[in-house]
């Protein structure tokens, strides 16, 4: 494996690509969960107000 010329550059390129894609996916999923929680809280508050 280490005999392949420029293997370090090839591995680094694929790692950077994978990491960047993982960050994009992760950021969107974290945002989605945060927004979902906020929306649930707001709707629960509204339901509570209606019940009073």
């Amino acid at each position: 494996m280490s005999e392949i010329p420029h293997i370090g550059f090839i591995v680094a390129a694929y790692l950077v690509t994978a990491a960047t894609i993982a960050v994009m996916i992760g950021a969107i999923l974290v945002d989605y969960r945060r927004l979902g929680r906020a929306l649930s809280r707001l709707e629960a508050t509204r339901s509570g107000d209606d019940a009073k």
Binding site: A13, V16, R46
Partner: protein, 300 residues
């Protein structure tokens, strides 16, 4: 557009000023009950109503996302297998394997800008309710793919050219594109009123379209280290089929990945606006209003 201004630029201070105006708008049935607010093209383009309805968009997205994500994953598996099974280039050797991530990322960096430009037209010309959400959602993704393009290009350049970076026309113009993406992300975050931010970002995006032909033709217009086009060119590709099919498969995988991430990001934007709207309604303090709205439909 009273609802839009209050809905998107919601702060306690602004809400206090605009709440009555907005509440009147919502109670008129134009804000939450109808899929497309009046005066924004809904009456004139009924065929656009379903596409413009954020609730319908969320439903379609919920059904489509798993299939699109599975297709993107499958394409990545096939593309990566093809990339690593492909023979080495007669000049570049195994370093050509960087091409399978660099070139699709480069194509995506321009393609996403085209998507943003189309969304900007949707915002400014057709006033499509989801156009500014699509534009906003695409900017960070464009920055991400352009970052991949720049870094992998740099890692490819070192063994091939002997330098990580040169102030070459192609490299420099792509760097400018990356900075433009970051600028658009910053613009969205720096203007509180999202309606104003949408128009400003749309205008800036359309002005910035000039960078796309510069990137495309930079290798023809100037003497550069970067090689000229070798796939989409007059006379057909100059790459052998054994190297070409994994490249095209990876390009399709990157495109589907962008579609999946873009849909997810637009969905987040719709939820963000729904939260802003509910917060505004809570600030308006109308329990009776809430009940009337709940009875009248949720909207976005």
């Amino acid at each position: 557009m009273p609802l839009r201004r209050a809905e998107l630029g919601a702060t306690q201070h602004v809400m206090a000023e605009r709440s009555q105006e907005s509440v009147n708008y919502i109670l008129s049935g134009k804000g939450l009950g109808s899929p497309l607010p009046a005066g924004r093209g809904g009456d004139k383009t009924p065929q656009m109503v379903n596409l413009a309805n954020p609730t319908a968009f969320l439903a379609v997205t919920r059904r489509a996302l798993p299939w699109l994500a599975a297709a993107a994953t499958a394409l990545f598996v096939v593309g990566l297998w093809g990339a690593f099974a492909a023979p080495p280039d007669y000049q570049q050797g195994e370093a050509v394997k960087i091409m399978y991530v660099h070139v699709p990322a480069a194509w995506m960096s321009s393609f996403i800008y085209v998507v943003m430009a189309a969304a900007s037209l949707g915002t400014l010309v057709w006033r499509h309710p989801l156009a500014d959400a699509a534009q906003k959602a695409a900017a960070p993704l464009g920055a991400g793919f352009t970052f991949i393009c720049l870094v992998t290009g740099s890692l490819w350049g070192k063994p091939m050219w002997g330098a990580y970076w040169v102030w070459d026309a192609r490299l420099t113009s792509v760097l400018i594109l990356f900075i433009m993406y970051l600028g658009l992300v910053a613009l969205w975050r720096s203007i509180e009123d999202q309606g104003v931010a949408a128009r400003a970002a749309a205008i800036l995006t359309l002005v910035g379209v000039v960078i796309l032909p510069i990137i495309k033709f930079s290798v023809d217009w100037w003497h550069t280290l970067h090689q000229p086009a070798s796939v989409f060119r007059m006379g057909g590709p100059t790459i052998g089929p054994q190297l070409l099919w994994p490249l095209l498969t990876m390009a399709l995988a990157f495109t589907l990945l962008f579609v999946v991430l873009h849909l997810m990001a637009i969905r987040n934007e719709i939820l963000r606006r729904r939260i802003a709207r509910l917060t505004m309604l809570a600030a308006a303090g109308g329990d009776a209003l809430s009940r009337r709205l709940a009875a009248g439909g949720s909207g976005a």
